[in-house]
Amino acid sequence: MLDFFQMILSGIAVGSSYALMALAMVIIYKTSEVVNFAQGEMALASSYFTFMLLTSYGFSFIAAFISAYLFALLLGAVLEFAILRRAKEPNLLGLIIITIGMEFMLLGFVSWKFGADQQIFPFPISPYDSISIGGAFFSMLELISLVIAIFIMVLLFFFFRYSKLGMAMKATQQNPVAARIMGIRTKRIMMLTWGISSMVGCTAGLLISPMLMEPFMMWDSMLKGFSSAVLGGMTSLPGAVAGAYILGIIENLFGGYVSIEFKSVVAFAIIVLILCVKPSGLFARHYVKKL
């Protein structure tokens, strides 16, 4: 029983980074129907930027983290402005290739600048501190990740539900032409969407960095986040979050009870299954357009 409880907790712990990556991808997918494979590497670049500020420039944590978010915002906006916007009437395949291209450019840049070796990311909380909840262990870092992830989700919820800008983003997603007729500057909204998504992804990157800091650190979370997003229907923010935690928990239960070697493969088995049975994802809200 304790084992089971521990596995659920570990599932929730990894679920947080999946959830953040999934949210980041859904935010972009909803506005532009681009599956952004560069999401992980955007977070990677932001994390390494923070690492550089901390280790080479002696920034304080607060200053470094604020700079990290600004950098992430800018990076997202610039990629949208400089690359995606230039694609003239792109099709789905073209867009996928573009984002994969961006992914490898960023990955290449980070590996070249910082080397492929593992680095130590100075973080105020050691990944080895942990607390015990009813006999099961939860590392402090995981706990903080969970709290921050939930905070970001709540923030996003309020942003999209109640702020004028958030609503304008939803309006742009739903009907770009009508949005322009309202006076919404949809191109700016697009840039901003990429910026915000990049900041959400950056959060995941910063939370993973203290545990693992190397150029491929985001791959696992990116792919699992993408899987979670698909699981949740690709267009639903709550769906993506639910998908992420479900995935994290199933993965850990599978690892505990069935086979630890194939733990990572579970995510993809689930995707294949979902895509066969319910291609629109588990939580996609179906909306029938009236003519």
Partner: protein, 258 residues
């Protein structure tokens, strides 16, 4: 009377399709002007060109609003100058609520209080929307969506309101209702440019009318005069005149209008 909108000799292409072939039109402040024409005549294209929604168009000609050139400007800026547009087919934000749709209509405004008042006013025009205020717009009926689209366009407090076939797909009673509200809106000082297929209703409820055929205006005048015009009666109002009753040649040319 002052001229609010002056369109001079515009030509619009959709790639190689020559849709508007030199059209001029002026809209006087405080009036309802209606553009009539058959399917494919180019009515919607004129409004889209005016709103800057067709990239790099108009190819030729000028559009002036309150004495300022607006052709070639971005839609977002044209809207900010005081023009609102209700597109053909409503185009509401389907997964936003009625209230959110209306508040998006006021996106460019900063005066919270005025927006609140205008929202009340719009809900007074269309009480059914008040009942549906927290419902997703996509779940409204076609007629309700049309009302929402008009209400949303009013939320920016426009000087000029452009309506593209507001009566499309509505029951006769609702059509009457919509036209009544259009007249009420005019009374509040909003100038209206109306595109319609329903020629009889449009002419009965407007001050000036223009008839568009194949991208050119072929007739313009006071609506009351157009209503009495023999050609208009025959081709656009579906009435038989004396001569046409004798020769069935003209029978075949009769176009059926609602």
């Amino acid at each position: 009377m002052t001229t609010l909108l002056e369109i001079k000799n515009i030509e619009t292409y959709y790639d190689l399709i020559y849709a508007i072939r030199g059209a001029s039109l002026s809209v006087e402040a405080g009036t309802i002007t209606t553009i009539l024409g058959n399917n494919g005549a180019g009515k919607s294209t004129i409004l889209k060109t005016l709103m800057g929604l067709i990239e790099d168009q108009p190819d030729k000609g000028t559009i002036e609003f309150m004495g300022k050139r607006i052709d070639g400007k971005d839609t977002e800026d044209i809207v900010r100058m005081g023009i609102s547009y209700v597109p053909e087919g409503r185009e509401v934000f389907e997964e936003l609520t009625v209230r959110e749709n209306l508040s998006m209509g006021a996106y460019t405004r900063k005066d919270q209080k005025g927006v609140k008042n205008d929202m009340k006013q719009v809900l007074a025009y269309f009480p059914i929307l008040a009942d549906r205020i927290n419902q997703w717009a996509g779940t409204l009926s076609g007629g309700e969506q049309q009302m929402l689209a008009i209400g949303r366009a009013l939320m920016s407090r426009p000087r000029l309101l452009c309506l593209d076939e507001p009566s499309l797909g509505l029951s006769p009673i609702l059509v009457k209702e919509i036209f009544k509200i259009i007249r009420t809106i005019k009374e509040t000082g909003v100038t209206i440019l109306l595109v319609e297929q329903n020629a009889r209703m449009a002419l009965a409820n407007s001050d000036f009318g223009l008839i568009l055929e194949n991208g050119r205006f072929v007739m313009k005048g006071k609506s009351s005069d157009l209503l009495k015009d023999k050609d208009v009666q025959e081709f656009y109002l579906g009435q038989r005149s004396e001569e046409s009753a004798k020769g069935y040649q003209r029978w075949k040319r009769k176009k059926v209008w609602r």
